[in-house]
Symmetry: C2
Subunit: 209 residues, 2 copies
Amino acid sequence: MNQDHLTWHTHRLAKAERIQMSGQKPFVLWLTGLSGSGKSTLADALEWRLYAMGLRTYLLDGDNVRHGLSKDLGFTDADRVENIRRIGETAKLMVDAGLIVITAFISPFRADRQMVREMLEPGEFVELYMDVPLEICEQRDPKGLYKKARTGQIKHFTGIDSPYEAPLAPELIATAELSVSEEVDRIVGYLVQHGKIQIGEQRKVLSAV
Amino acid sequence: MNQDHLTWHTHRLAKAERIQMSGQKPFVLWLTGLSGSGKSTLADALEWRLYAMGLRTYLLDGDNVRHGLSKDLGFTDADRVENIRRIGETAKLMVDAGLIVITAFISPFRADRQMVREMLEPGEFVELYMDVPLEICEQRDPKGLYKKARTGQIKHFTGIDSPYEAPLAPELIATAELSVSEEVDRIVGYLVQHGKIQIGEQRKVLSAV
């Protein structure tokens, strides 16, 4: 590496101006949980709800990351770490751009999620743990992946032959008990209550700050 | 690699909704040119002008990419290619998020810039060539890098011991003849004329589509 000739400039247009322009505070809502725990479904419903509230969001998931930014990576432990690192860095850039970023990745390792949390400013990382038992996920098996993992067709599959480390103190927990729209209600309620998002008059005030 | 178990979902919230919400069409304005050719200065001034016009932008450059997303990469040819690929993929995600992305990287190789152009939809990649002679860049040498390259302290330095391949058909060319603000005027004029950005009434119409 030969980076000693890199220098830092201050961009004239910074996060503060973007927040003022959009009237929203950017942050990352990081969904973590087993395959089949409902991350993509919940992320999609959440994004739609936030959009309906006039908020600017972006959803990062396997679909738009694994086929692009991380298409050179596989599913070994080292590649998973690098995948999460790149997602974290991209989410950070998007937060800097003023967006509310929702991510939906298994992201099985505590250290990796902690790494992303530390990339961001305090309060900008909201961890949402999909607390759905392996048995239910395996029963759902929407993509037939658990079946393939059990027969060895897929290696390094989280929950089968690769560990999942549940968050110790996530900001939010979703379970299989509530419907998707009930979960969305609850999560939006949390975000409003904790000042992550503003509704109606509040946003206008933020916008005018 | 073991990606055969990746599937594509359609996100409910897509680029079309974001364009409608913001009243702007996203694209990438890709600045390319030698170190010292004025990329960062022009990019910064351009972003500020677009912000003043109410447009949502993001500036990707060495500062926010080399210290984060690409911090594992050096300056060999292979690492430069991978750096540009990641920047391209990140810009693509940001375009999908509805942003106008300005990039300021030397990006010396034609094939790499072409790779990014091909990642995007037709019309979403606007190449801006900083056509400033090496002599002028070396004379400016704002970071003292040419001096270090000439004495061998920096290896693989574009223009000295690593080639720069000028664009053959860039959408825009900037030279050292005009002032920064004159260049910004000219570029904004081009973007309006070519329907990349809309001003005033036009934007309201796009917003209502």
